[in-house]
């Protein structure tokens, strides 16, 4: 089967995974293991299947009308599409951060509390929120203004709040879908250092169109193009010595 490139046991495994939307193929025959505690970068051109693969890991594709998934996704060995598996439970274990800060039009506190309240984990609400906001480096700045509207924060802080909202659920896996794409370079740097700090504590899958970002942050890299997993392996190998000509032309910027 899939040898995990680092030798560590995989948290997530995709086996011959195909996804189509209303008959249009977005992902075809992808098999990939995401090893525990590693940061795996998904790179490739737009429309290559990065987001679709990420959303396969937390069953988000099924919310899109006309989506059809074939193949298997395993979380800690369990098929997440199996009858008895609850999508909400999967999503609590496999958290996600989106390209744009998708905050609810409510207070900072309510945003971070959202997932905890939805799953009824309200006993230590305040502690969990403090913990999450501390992790993302926002606590000291906003501890006194938790009732302020979340949308009043600066764009970079909003995205960090999205991280906090996801981390408050103490997930095992973090799916990061182009988390810095809407941010300026200073805010991007802060998010990158946050992601760097989260490495090791979480298994992270980062979809990014920033080649340098992938090189800076990841241990493993997977290159997707046209819905196909072209190749994957240790980031250094992929970037310095890609096996496939498509990967090479993408990395050298000759793509299209």
């Amino acid at each position: 089967m899939n040898r995990s490139a680092s030798g560590r046991s995989p948290v997530l495994v995709a086996e011959d995974l195909s996804v189509s939307f209303a008959g249009k193929v977005a992902l075809e025959g992808v098999s990939l293991a995401i090893p525990r505690g590693c940061l795996t970068a998904l790179i490739g051109p737009e429309g290559g299947g990065k987001s679709t693969l990420l959303r396969s890991f937390n069953r988000l594709n099924e919310l899109t009308p006309g989506a059809v998934t074939a193949g298997i996704v395993r979380l800690n060995g369990v098929d997440i599409h199996q009858g008895g598996v609850d999508a909400a439970t999967v999503r609590r274990k496999v958290g996600m951060v989106f390209p744009e800060a998708t905050l609810f039009p409510r207070s900072i506190f309510d945003n971070v509390a959202f997932g905890l309240r939805a799953s009824g984990q309200v006993e230590e609400l305040h502690n969990r929120i403090e913990e999450a906001l501390t992790t993302v480096g926002l606590w000291s700045g906003i501890a006194d203004t938790l009732d302020a509207r979340a949308l009043s924060l600066a764009p970079g802080d909003r995205q960090r709040l999205c991280f906090a909202r996801t981390l408050a659920l103490r997930p095992e896996v973090l799916l990061l879908d182009e988390p810095t794409t809407a941010l300026d370079s200073a805010a991007t740097a802060r998010i990158e250092s946050l992601v760097h700090g989260l490495k090791g504590d979480y298994t992270i899958v980062l979809a990014t169109s920033g080649r340098r970002q992938a090189a800076r942050l990841s241990e493993l890299t997977a290159y997707l193009e046209g819905g196909e997993l072209v190749e994957h392996g240790p980031t250094e190998t992929i970037f310095t010595n890609p096996r496939d000509a498509r990967t090479e032309s993408y990395l050298t910027g000759r793509f299209r």
Binding site: L60, R91, T102, P105, F114, G115, A118, T166
Partner: protein, 281 residues
């Protein structure tokens, strides 16, 4: 140059059309008020009974009847309509049931009000044994308003950003939690404004209530849904069919009251909607 001249020409024409549209409303209101003025007295508005004679009659029972009808129609059409919209938008997206229900609602929307009255007469008045009551009127207007409530509610639900919706799901929220905590609160401002607009149209309808058997003469103010069907629009209609000249003024005065109620409901919806929007931000 030619393009510029065309534009002037079009501008003039559309401007004239705009003046005509605005003018139509003002003219209508003007004539109505002039006709209504002699009859617009406080005891006319509050009179507890309608009389067969122009003197001493009033619209008290009709106002209360219309209020009852509004309440009943709202109590039925809003939960059913909003529930349907939530189902269609969130639970059955693009499935066959959604298409079927959507088509049926389109069909319902195309049914003329008077036909709603005929169906209401057969179903509510006769089959369900309600008789020509306020309850039957409210039920009939609820079916009349239902398609519009559903489509307004669907629009409102669609206005919630899909990203925020996905974010809620990604945090482990169930469908019901997403609907209750995100979709409905976010859509609430347009839901409220749209519902008030739709209901204001419904309470202005005379035709279906006339078919049901609305009365134009009643000596008491209706106190329960089981009381005889009286309403403002049917009262207006009844008075316009009377020969005596004084009834013209009564019809005009009742029309003014009806218009005021409809405009008031719309305004209330708009104001409440905006207030909800402000508090949500």
């Amino acid at each position: 140059m030619r393009a510029a001249r065309d534009r002037d020409w079009l501008g003039g024409l559309s401007g004239a059309a705009a003046v005509l549209s605005g003018g139509a409303f003002l003219t209508l209101m003007g004539f109505l008020l002039i006709d209504a003025l002699p009859a617009l007295q406080l005891d006319f508005l509050l009179s507890p009974s309608t009389s067969r004679l122009p003197d001493g009659t009033g619209i008290g029972p009709a106002v209360v009847g219309s209020a009852w009808i509004l309440l009943i129609a709202a109590a039925l059409a809003l939960p059913v309509g909003i529930g349907t919209a939530v189902y269609l938008e969130e639970y059955a997206r693009r499935r066959r049931t959604a298409t079927a229900v959507g088509r049926a609602l389109d069909g319902l929307a195309a049914v003329p009000p008077v036909v709603h009255g005929v169906v209401g007469l057969a179903v509510f008045v006769r089959a369900l044994g309600m008789g020509a009551t306020i309850l039957a009127g409210g039920c009939t207007l609820a079916t009349l308003a239902l398609p519009a409530v559903v489509s307004t509610a669907r629009e409102a639900l669609r206005s919630v950003s899909p990203e925020v919706r996905l974010a809620a799901y990604s945090l482990g929220a169930t469908k019901w939690q997403v609907v209750r905590r995100e979709l409905l609160p976010t859509a609430a401002p347009s839901l409220v404004a749209g519902s008030c607009l739709t209901l204001s149209r419904a309470i202005g309808e005379a035709a279906p209530l006339l078919v049901l058997g609305a009365v134009s003469f009643i000596t008491f103010v209706p106190a329960a849904p089981g009381d005889p069907l009286v309403s403002l629009p049917t009262q207006v209609f009844a008075w316009t069919t009377r020969a005596h000249a004084d009834f013209a003024a009564l019809a005009a005065a009742a029309s003014v009251a009806l218009l005021a109620a409809m405009v008031g409901l719309r305004l209330a919806g708009a104001v409440l909607g905006r207030a909800l929007q402000r508090s949500a931000r």
